[in-house]
């Protein structure tokens, strides 16, 4: 049975139940036929046997059989194809009966293989099959299904028809009707169609229908259909529309059951009834949509066409209205023109012998009247042609003769323009029918045009015959027409821009009129042109028949004259013979291409007294202005070659003419025009027509303005020249292009050398003065780079001498050229420069000298200053001290070369303060030095010259240095004296016990001051304590201090009251110059009780720090400084210094710091005491001075006085046992003051007693009369005792060992620490015990 699925399925058939029986019994012929069938790739089926049992192959199954497979296998063919048996049954019977094959192509068969009756097309052939015996027993069908092809062709045809409307489509209705016809022709795919168009109200209107009556109820129903499939069956009984009306069926037996709605945005939508025998597959749907698209496109085209149509009609209407308007207005012009021209003619005749001026003006009126008349006539002609009302009066004319005559009218004008004119008009055999007037206009227009655009060569007019046409050619050798412009040459109002012409006048209708007129004569006109070499117009007119009228060659009509007159005015005329007027010298240049206007302006301006020169166009004006000087240019805007705006631009771009004022005249009255004119740089703008008075007023104003401007220029020149400062202008490259007189005065370079290119000749020479050259180069760079600036530089006068100049510059934009220039001034600051150099050098030196602490320091500073001033390589000083063999050399920058030491020694004998320059070495100068002679030496290096000014400065400075050093030397000495004096005054003081004092002079600069301290033992056992501060420093202050101190001491002894002492000191100070305003803290202390009475004369308060660290400020009893008269009596206050407390008196130098409150300094000092309260007071004094000293030392002198209460005990007594009790008594009292308790006191007494007893017993046993010293001192926490004797402690003997041992044992037990030091001079026992 073969392979494949079909083979297997055939094998599965129960063949025994068929008439064919089991396959094994099949005849060979059947087996062969089945084999052929199954192996063929072409769709085939066959029927065999009495019941025509059905076989098919795989291709047939796929293409045609559809859902009937595999059921169909083995079935009778009549059952398989029951639905089409009517069609194919007879064919098969015929084959079986006749043995002849059939052929059917594209046969429509309704098959049911997909669940519905399906339209399908098949091309097939039935051929007979015979059994082994040759009998006809079956048939073989070879078939190809063609459904797709046929449907495709059908649909394509519809779409093609829809898209190929042969007519140029018109209205929407027509479009839709056409579309409907095409759709209707495909009633198979489109049983019916409905086109609905959207209505403005939102509804839809049926615009076209096919296959269905527009009145069918479903039409209205579908008007609201949504896009997509519509089920028509739902609209009524099956196959019927609503209201039971049967739907049309199209080309089918049954009506459609579904419809497809396709939108056609934005117009509407199309509803297509669908072929019920085809599935709505993608192809079908695509077809309907494409069809709808075609309809939509048609609608779009129709609507767009309609819109264009409407627009064209509107435009045409507008054009008609315009023509009418032109026509009317032209007529209106004619009346006043007639009334002007008539009287003018009359006047010309009447005044022909009169005043020349009047005659000329009448001529101007006449000519321009003619011109206006011509323009009006041309316009009128046009409107007539437009309106179709041109009345041509045709007559047979001898065209050659007439044309030749017309041409000759222009001969004079053309020849005056320097052009050749050839007229070649041989007679024609036949006349031509033309309107004489029109022909005249044609020829005159062409000639006028040729003259206007031809500057060299010539103009040729030729009349010839070609076949039965007269050919008239007007050719020129003018500027020609650009190829791009050719198509528009005959267009109305089209003017060719930028073409060089004799006149810019023209309306742009000449050639258009010519064309119209030629057309009216039944002729044609063509143009040929080559830019730069000429244009030729060729007119062809049919030769007519008939005789020439008698009046042919009639004289020129008045219109001809107007052409000629106009053309003549384009040509350069004779210089206008107008009286030049009185004139005040203002020169005016008039540029206008219209001769009448030119003459008119000339006459008008000369009449007003101006000197006038008239030219024909902008180029000529520009050439004239570049060679002559004018106060004003009056120019037309529209001119050939170079128009007014271009003229202005050209003038403004050239510095020679940039400031010449320009008054533009124009006939165009738009605001943009005047703005354009003014933007181009015109000074004024006047619109035609203008009155003579207005023109003259504007001219006058502009001339005056111009004069004012040139006045400004003259004034500027005078002003700049009168400047004392030099003035210069540089261009962008730095070349000096303008200078004034002062510039020449200062630098010696005059204007004759302008421009001065950089490097300017006044720059210092790079080879001889590189540094100065660098300075100038740097300044020059800023000049070019920066917007503004100022600098001072060294320059060289033309005669070679050195100058210093200060220059200031600004960058500005030259308003005329728009270029950047640099404007600057230069001032000779040579004197100032050296003065400033001198002053700053002196100031610098002064500072160095004043800051120095000593001579060597000062000298070093001076050398540094000189080195920086001259930027020297090094500076040196050699001091030759009297009697010294070798000079002492100080150098800054670099050590002095050995070779120079000899030079310095040689210079030593030179006169004082006279600079000596050793070429290639350096410059030296001799100065007096306190210790001998000094040579100052500078070496600049780098081949830098030491100029005359440098020498002067050095001499000046040397003088100051000498004085400074001497003064410093004196100050040094003075200071030494003062310090010695101060120390002498202050010490060595016999200080009472418990006191410590310090004095420190100010460190920087080291100087003594007026601070002092003092302690005065008073007769009553109390101690006067004083700390004071005199105003000022130095020797004077020290002297005053000494006297005040003495006075204070004396007064204390006398009064023993601080307040009284200070009051008395006030009086004393009045007698002592320099004493006033001294501050003093004065107190009287009872060393036993610690009671202190004090008074302060403007002095910082004393500070007391108790044993527990608490502090107290002694700020009562305050009053004014000494010698200040005011206020009441001085007061005093009391304070008790507690046991082991520390009292501090000081001067402000200790606590005063710049930019810090005094209280801060006092707090710091207090803290120092607090921290040091465990130290002995002497040690503490040193600590305080160290701790409060600023990093670089005190900048004011300081006096400090400390007291620790009670003062230490120091008793000396003879080494006798009887002295022990009194000493003990004294010690007991001291211990009491120290504030120790009884137990400690007892311990101390015992220990001290033992030590003393030892001293008596052992130290002095062998040397009676010796003395013992007991010293005791307290700090906050402990007591120190020292017992000193001058004897020798005997080595303890065994006899008294127990006893002595007991004493030592006691001492060790009672004291914290015991040290016994025995020397040859004596024994010292030191003991220490804690108090707390």
């Amino acid at each position: 049975m073969g392979d494949g699925e079909v083979g297997r399925d055939l094998a599965a058939v129960d063949w025994s139940s068929t008439p064919l029986g089991p396959p094994g019994e099949w005849p060979q012929s059947l087996q062969t036929a089945v084999g052929i069938l199954l192996t063929s790739k072409f769709p085939m089926w066959m029927a065999w046997g009495p019941r025509l049992t059905f076989f098919c192959n795989a291709a047939y199954r796929t293409v045609t059989l559809g859902s009937k497979y595999p059921w169909a296998l083995g079935q009778p063919a009549s059952a398989v194809w029951a639905e089409i048996w009517d069609d194919i049954g007879p064919r098969i019977e015929g084959v079986l009966a006749t043995g002849e094959a059939t052929w059917d192509e594209g046969l429509l068969l309704f098959v049911e293989r997909s669940g519905y009756r399906e339209e399908s097309y098949h091309t097939f052939s039935y051929s007979p099959l015979r059994d082994d015996d040759g009998a006809l027993v079956g048939m073989l069908c070879v078939v190809s299904e063609e459904t797709d092809r046929i449907l495709g062709e059908r649909r394509m045809s519809t779409l093609r028809d829809l898209g190929s409307d042969p007519s140029i489509v018109r209205t929407e209705e027509e479009t839709l009707a056409f579309a409907a016809r095409q759709l209707e022709r495909n009633a198979k795919d489109l049983p019916f169609t409905l086109v609905y168009l959207d209505e403005p109200d939102g509804g839809a209107r049926l615009a076209a229908a096919t296959g269905i009556d527009a009145g069918h109820p479903i039409v209205a129903a579908l008007a609201t259909a949504e896009p997509g499939l519509v089920d028509l069956a739902g609209e009524g009984p099956a196959g019927e529309g609503p209201a039971g009306e049967r739907l049309p069926t199209g080309d089918w037996p049954e009506p459609p059951v579904r419809a497809l709605t396709v939108p056609m945005p934005p117009y509407g939508f199309l509803v297509a009834g669908l072929n019920r025998y085809r599935e709505l597959d993608e192809t079908y749907r695509g077809f309907v949509e494409l069809a709808a698209g075609h309809v939509a496109t048609g609608i779009a085209a129709a609507r767009s066409y309609q819109a264009q149509q409407r627009r064209a009609e509107e435009l045409a209407e507008l054009d008609r209205a315009k023509t009418t308007f032109f026509s009317n207005i032209s007529h209106e012009f004619r009346t006043p023109l007639t009334l002007i021209m008539g009287p003018v003619e009359e006047l010309r005749e009447r005044l022909s012998g009169g005043d020349d001026r009047v005659r000329e003006e009448l001529d101007v009126i006449h000519r321009n009247g003619l011109r206006l008349g011509k323009l009006v006539t041309t316009l009128l002609d046009f409107s007539r042609i437009e309106a179709g009302r041109m009345q041509a009066r045709y007559e047979p004319v001898d065209l050659a003769l007439t044309t030749g005559e017309l041409a000759s009218v222009f001969r004079s004008a053309i020849e005056r323009a320097g052009l050749a004119f050839t007229v070649d008009c041989p007679p024609l055999p036949e006349p031509v029918h033309v309107d004489r007037g029109m022909w005249e206009k044609v020829i005159l227009n062409l000639l006028s045009n040729a003259l206007k655009f031809t500057f060299d060569g010539g103009i040729h007019v030729r009349v010839t015959r070609e076949d039965d046409e007269a050919v008239v050619t007007v050719a020129d050798t003018g500027v020609g027409v650009d190829e791009r412009e050719m198509p528009r040459l005959f267009e109305r109002f089209h003017r060719i821009e930028n073409a060089r012409s004799r006149s810019n006048e023209g309306s742009g209708i000449g050639l258009a009129l010519v064309k119209e007129l030629v057309g009216l004569q039944g002729g044609t006109i063509t143009a040929a042109s080559t830019p730069g070499s000429g244009t030729s117009f060729t007119i062809r007119l049919p030769l007519g028949t008939g005789d020439l009228p008698a009046d042919s060659g009639s004289p020129l009509s008045p219109a001809g004259d107007s052409y000629l007159q106009e053309a003549l005015r384009w040509l350069p005329g004779e210089p206008a013979e107008v009286p030049s007027g009185s004139g005040d010298g203002s020169r005016v240049l008039v540029a206008d291409d219209n001769a009448d206007m030119r003459d008119y302006l000339t006459r008008l301006l000369r009449g007003a007294g101006h000197q006038v020169h008239a030219v024909h166009d902008g180029q000529e004006a520009l050439d004239t202005l570049r060679t002559g000087v004018f106060d004003l240019v009056v120019s037309d805007v529209m001119m050939p070659r170079l128009d007014g705006l271009q003229l202005v631009a050209a003038l403004r771009a050239d510095s020679r003419t940039a400031s010449t004022p320009v008054l533009l005249l124009s006939a165009r009255a738009g605001q943009e025009e005047s703005i354009e004119g003014l933007e181009a740089g015109a000074d004024d703008y006047l619109v035609k027509p203008f009155s003579a008075a207005e023109l003259l007023a504007r001219v006058r104003a502009n001339v005056e303005l111009a004069r004012l401007r040139t006045h400004h220029t003259r004034w500027r020149t005078a002003l700049i020249d009168s400047l004392q400062e030099a003035f210069f202008v540089c261009d962008e490259a730095g070349a000096v292009i303008e200078i004034n007189a002062a510039f020449t005065d200062i630098l010696g370079y005059g204007p004759e050398g302008l421009p001065y290119q950089p490097v300017h000749p006044w720059w210092p020479r790079e080879e001889t003065d590189a540094e100065a050259y660098r300075q100038v180069a740097a300044a020059f760079a800023t000049l070019l780079d920066q917007d503004r600036g100022a600098y001072t530089i060294p320059v060289r006068h033309q005669d070679g001498h050195r100058l210093w100049v200060a220059a200031a510059f600004n960058q500005v934009v030259d308003p005329d050229t728009g270029r950047r220039v640099i404007v600057g001034t230069v001032r000779d600051v040579t004197d100032e420069h050296y003065a400033i150099q001198r002053e700053s050098a002196l100031a610098g030196l002064g500072l160095r000298l004043s800051q120095a602490d000593d001579l060597p320091g000062a000298l070093h500073g001076v050398l540094e200053e000189l080195r920086s001033l001259w930027q020297a390589e090094y500076t040196a000083a050699a001091v030759f001290a009297a009697g010294a063999a070798v000079p002492e050399i100080t150098a800054v920058g670099a050590p002095v070369p050995v070779a120079r030491v000899r030079t310095l020694a040689e210079l030593r004998d030179q006169p004082l303060l006279t600079p000596v320059t050793r070429p290639a070495e350096g410059t030296g100068i001799v100065i007096e030095h306190p210790e001998g002679t000094m040579v100052l030496w500078l070496e600049l290096g780098e081949r830098r010259p030491f100029t005359e000014q440098d020498q002067t400065l050095l001499a000046l400075l040397a003088g100051h240095i000498g004085q400074g050093l001497t003064r410093l030397h004196q100050i040094d000495e003075q200071r030494e004296t003062a310090l010695a004096l101060q120390r002498a005054i202050l010490g060595p003081a016999q200080l009472p016990a418990g006191f410590a004092v310090r004095y420190a002079p100010a460190t920087r600069p080291l100087k003594v001051g007026g601070d002092w301290y003092d302690t005065v033992p008073l007769p009553d056992g109390r101690i006067g304590i004083v700390v004071g501060d005199c105003v000022g420093h130095g020797l004077g202050a020290a002297t005053v201090m000494g006297q005040l101190r003495s006075a204070c001491r004396a007064l204390l002894l006398q009064h023993s009251s601080p307040a009284q002492t200070l009051t008395a000191l006030d009086r004393f100070a009045e007698l002592l110059p320099g004493a006033a305003c001294a501050t003093v803290f004065c107190g009287v202390l009872d060393p036993e009780s610690g009671e202190l009475v004090y008074s302060s004369a403007g002095h910082p308060p004393a500070v007391a720090v108790a044993a527990d660290g608490s502090s107290h400020l002694l700020d009562q009893g305050r009053s004014r400084p000494i010698g200040v008269r005011s206020g009441g009596p001085r007061t005093e206050a009391g304070f008790t210094v507690s046991a082991r407390a520390t009292l501090m008196l000081y001067t402000d130098g200790l606590v005063e710091r710049r930019r810090k409150p005094l209280t801060e300094g006092i707090a710091r000092a207090t803290a120092a005491i607090q921290d040091g309260r465990r130290s002995p007071v002497e040690e503490l004094a040193t600590d305080v001075m160290d701790r409060l000293a600023p990093a670089d030392g005190y900048d004011d002198d300081v006096a400090l006085l400390l007291y620790r209460h009670p003062g230490p005990l120091d008793v000396e007594f003879p080494a006798e046992a009887t002295r022990l009790a009194p000493v003990r008594q004294v010690l007991r009292g001291w211990l009491d003051r120290v504030g120790v308790d009884r137990t400690v006191a007892q311990n101390v007494l015992v220990a001290a007693g033992e030590a003393c007893a030892n001293a008596i017993e052992h130290g002095h046993r062998d040397a009676p009369g010796g003395r013992i010293r007991l010293q005791a001192a307290a700090t906050v926490e402990e007591l120190r005792l020292i017992v000193t004797d001058s004897g020798h402690w005997r080595v303890p003997q065994p006899a008294d060992q127990a006893h002595r041992g007991r004493g030592l044992k006691l001492m060790r037990a009672l004291m914290n620490e015991i040290t016994v030091t025995t020397t040859i001079t004596g024994t010292i026992v030191e003991m220490q015990v804690g108090i707390l």
Binding site: A1221, R1224, T1239, G1303, L1306
Partner: protein, 98 residues
Amino acid sequence: MTTQLSLTTTRRADGTPVLTATGEIDMSNAADFAAALAGALDGDTPLLVDLTAVEYIDSAGLASLFEHVERIRLLAGPLLAPVLTISGLADLTTVDGS
């Protein structure tokens, strides 16, 4: 000037001899004190040395007391206590506080 010291010898009602010292005892009068001590000693009867009114006593005075330490008893105030203790006298004889 010799150090202030007064020495009084009395006998209590129970017959105990008493040496009362007032003032200070140092090197300068230690001999006087020693003499008074010796004089006040009466046979085997312990002597009561009253130092309550003594403000100061140094090693010389203490030495006198050590000499008779086995026959004396001491009466002393807090002021002398440290000295008597440190010297070891308090360990050798009876010291009564007052």
